[in-house]
C-alpha cells in the first residue's frame, strides 16, 4: 500500500496488458495520479444498502441504440 504512484502505475499497466506508445507513459502517469485522487474523493465508505444510480429506463422491447 506504500507503493508510489509511479510503481502502481507501472504494475497496473503491465497487468492490464497495455502497450503504450512512445511519449504516452508520462502523460498517462499524470492522468493516473489524477484518477487515483478522484477515486479517493468518491470514496468507498458506503452502507451495504447504498444503491448505484440507475440511469437507464429502457422501454420494454426497446431496440438497440445503433
Amino acid at each position: 500500500m506504500a507503493d508510489s504512484i509511479e510503481v502502481r502505475f507501472a504494475v497496473e499497466t503491465e497487468l492490464l496488458g497495455l502497450k503504450l506508445l512512445p511519449g504516452q507513459e508520462a502523460n498517462l502517469r499524470a492522468a493516473y495520479a489524477a484518477l487515483r485522487d478522484a477515486v479517493v474523493l468518491v470514496g468507498a465508505d458506503y452502507s451495504f444498502e447504498a444503491e448505484p444510480a440507475h440511469v437507464f429506463a429502457p422501454a420494454p422491447g426497446a431496440e438497440r441504440r445503433r
Partner: protein, 466 residues
C-alpha cells in the same frame, strides 16, 4: 458582411420571412454556401460541405412551401451536424483516422427529425476526435477556430458547431454534451447551447462516448431558436434505451411571458468563488446578469450544492470507464491511429477498477439526491458556464480540467437540463457566459429564463468581426 445579411438572421427571423414568402430557402442556402466558401478556409468549422444535396433540399422546401405545405419554423432553415451524427449516404468520421471511409445507411434520429421538419443539411461539422480528443493537430481535420478571434479556441467537443453558428455559416447546429461539449463551445463562441434532460432527446445514431453521460442538443444564436429546435427533436425514441417516454410540452409557448415574476433562482456562488474562482470578467458579468434577472422579477437567493470537485471526480470515473469500454478493442489493436489526446484520454479509463466505477455510480445517486434537495424552493440554478473566456488555440493542454474545472459536468452527472448563453464580452471582445440549470424535464423554465434575459440585454446585436 452587414447585420442585414441573411446569414445573420436568427432561426426565428428567417422562419418568419420564409413563411411570409419574403425569403427563399434556396437563396438563404446559397448565401450560407457562399459564406462557407469565403470563410471556412480560416475557421475550419466544416469537415464536409454538401452543396448539391443542400440546394436540392432547399428547392424541394421552396416548392413545398409555395404549394401551401409549410411544415413549421424549421422548414427551409439550413443547419449543420457535428460529425458524430450518422447521416445516410454521407460519411460520419468522428474526427478520426479510424472512421474515415464508411458511410452510414441511416440518419441519426436527431438528423432525421430535423430533416422531417424541413431543415436543410448544409454539411458535417468539426468535432474533437470521438468527442474527447481536444484541440488537436495530429488528426485528419484541422481544429475549428473561434470566429470572435481565429487565434482563439472555440472550445469543444462540438467545436465546429459553435464556430459555424457564431460565424453565420449555418442557422443552427447540433452537438453532443458528455461533460459540457454543447455548453462550452456555446460559451466561448457567444451562443445559446442547450443540454436537455438526459432522456429528453434521442442519441440514437450518434457515436457514443459515455453512455450514461452523453446528451444531444442544439447550438443556436438565440435561446428562442434553441426552443424551436428542441421542439423538433424532443421525444421518445425506441432506438435509444435511455430515451424517456414523456410528453413534450410547447417550448415556444413557454417563452411568451416577458417577465420572471414568481421565478425563484438559486445562485451557486460557492462553485465559482470557492471551488474554482471565475475570472474577474466572468464574475462581473455574472453579477450583472443576476441584477438583470432580479429586475425582471425573479427572486434570487444563494443555493448550496455539493463541492464541484466531488461532482467532477464522480463524472470523471464514469466517463473514463465508459469511454475505455467503447474504445478498448481499437485502442489495443490500432493505438497509433488515434490522435495523442484522444488516445491518452481514453486509455486512462483502463485504470478504473470495476469497484471504482460502482462506487462512482453510488456517489452519483447521492449527488443527484443532494442536488434535488438543494433545489427545494428554487426553479433553477444560476452560475457561469466556465471560469474563463476562450484562450489561444492550443493552450488548453491535455488535462486542463484538473487545473481550471468547468462548471458544466455536475449537470451531466445529474442529467438536469442546462443552458449556456452569452452575458457579455471581455475587454478583448471575447464572449462571456451564463448557465441556467433546471429541474429534470423542465427545459421550458430554463428557456423562459434565458429568453427573458436575452430580450432584456443587448448582447445578441453583436456578431463576430469577420
Amino acid at each position: 458582411m452587414t447585420q442585414s445579411d441573411p446569414c445573420f438572421l436568427s432561426v426565428t427571423e428567417a422562419a418568419a420571412l420564409i413563411a411570409a414568402k419574403r425569403l427563399s430557402p434556396v437563396e438563404l442556402t446559397r448565401a450560407y454556401l457562399d459564406r462557407i466558401e469565403r470563410l471556412d478556409g480560416t475557421l475550419h468549422a466544416y469537415v464536409r460541405v454538401l452543396p448539391d444535396e443542400a440546394l436540392a433540399a432547399a428547392r424541394a422546401a421552396e416548392a413545398e412551401i409555395a404549394a401551401g405545405r409549410h411544415r413549421g419554423p424549421l422548414h427551409g432553415i439550413p443547419f449543420g451536424l457535428k460529425d458524430i451524427y450518422d447521416t445516410a449516404g454521407v460519411p460520419t468520421e468522428g474526427g478520426s483516422k479510424l472512421c474515415l471511409g464508411p458511410v452510414p445507411a441511416a440518419d441519426a434520429t436527431g438528423a432525421r427529425l430535423l430533416k422531417q421538419a424541413g431543415a436543410i443539411l448544409l454539411g458535417k461539422l468539426t468535432t474533437w476526435e470521438f468527442a474527447i480528443g481536444g484541440t488537436a493537430f495530429d488528426t485528419p481535420f484541422p481544429p475549428a477556430r473561434n470566429p470572435w478571434n481565429p487565434e482563439r479556441d472555440p472550445a469543444g467537443s462540438s467545436s465546429g458547431s459553435g464556430a459555424a453558428v457564431a460565424a453565420g455559416l449555418c442557422a443552427m447546429a447540433m452537438g453532443s454534451d458528455t461533460g459540457g461539449s454543447i455548453r462550452w463551445p456555446a460559451a466561448w463562441c457567444g451562443l445559446a447551447g442547450l443540454k436537455p434532460t438526459y432522456g429528453r432527446v434521442s442519441r440514437a445514431g450518434i457515436m457514443p462516448l459515455s453512455f450514461s453521460l452523453d446528451h444531444a442538443g442544439p447550438l443556436t444564436w438565440t435561446v428562442e431558436d434553441a426552443a424551436i429546435v428542441l421542439q423538433a427533436i424532443a421525444g421518445h425514441d425506441p432506438r435509444d434505451p435511455a430515451s424517456a417516454d414523456r410528453a413534450v410540452p410547447d417550448y415556444w409557448a413557454a417563452l411568451a411571458s416577458s417577465d420572471l415574476q414568481g421565478v425563484r433562482l438559486g445562485v451557486a456562488r460557492a462553485m465559482f468563488e470557492r471551488d474554482c474562482p471565475a475570472s474577474g470578467a466572468m464574475g462581473s458579468a455574472f453579477d450583472a446578469a443576476v441584477e438583470v434577472l432580479r429586475g425582471l422579477g425573479a427572486a434570487i437567493a444563494e443555493i448550496k450544492l455539493p463541492p464541484l470537485a466531488l461532482y467532477n471526480a464522480t463524472a470523471s470515473l464514469i466517463s473514463r470507464s465508459e469511454g475505455f469500454a467503447i474504445h478498448e478493442k481499437t485502442l489495443r489493436e490500432r493505438p497509433q491511429d488515434y490522435g495523442a489526446l484522444a488516445r491518452d484520454r481514453l486509455t486512462i479509463g483502463a485504470y478504473v477498477r470495476a469497484s471504482d466505477m460502482v462506487q462512482a455510480m453510488r456517489r452519483r445517486l447521492i449527488l443527484v439526491e443532494a442536488t434535488e434537495a438543494a433545489m427545494t424552493g428554487f426553479d433553477a440554478i444560476l452560475l457561469p458556464t466556465c471560469p474563463d473566456p476562450a484562450p489561444v488555440l492550443g493552450e488548453l493542454g491535455p488535462y486542463f480540467d484538473n487545473r481550471r474545472p468547468m462548471y458544466m459536468r455536475p449537470f451531466n452527472l445529474t442529467g438536469q437540463p442546462a443552458l449556456s448563453l452569452c452575458n457579455g464580452f471581455d475587454d478583448m471582445g471575447l464572449p462571456l457566459s451564463l448557465q441556467i440549470v433546471g429541474r429534470h424535464f423542465d427545459e421550458a423554465t430554463v428557456l423562459r429564463i434565458g429568453h427573458a434575459y436575452e430580450r432584456a440585454t443587448p448582447w445578441r446585436a453583436r456578431r463576430p468581426p469577420l
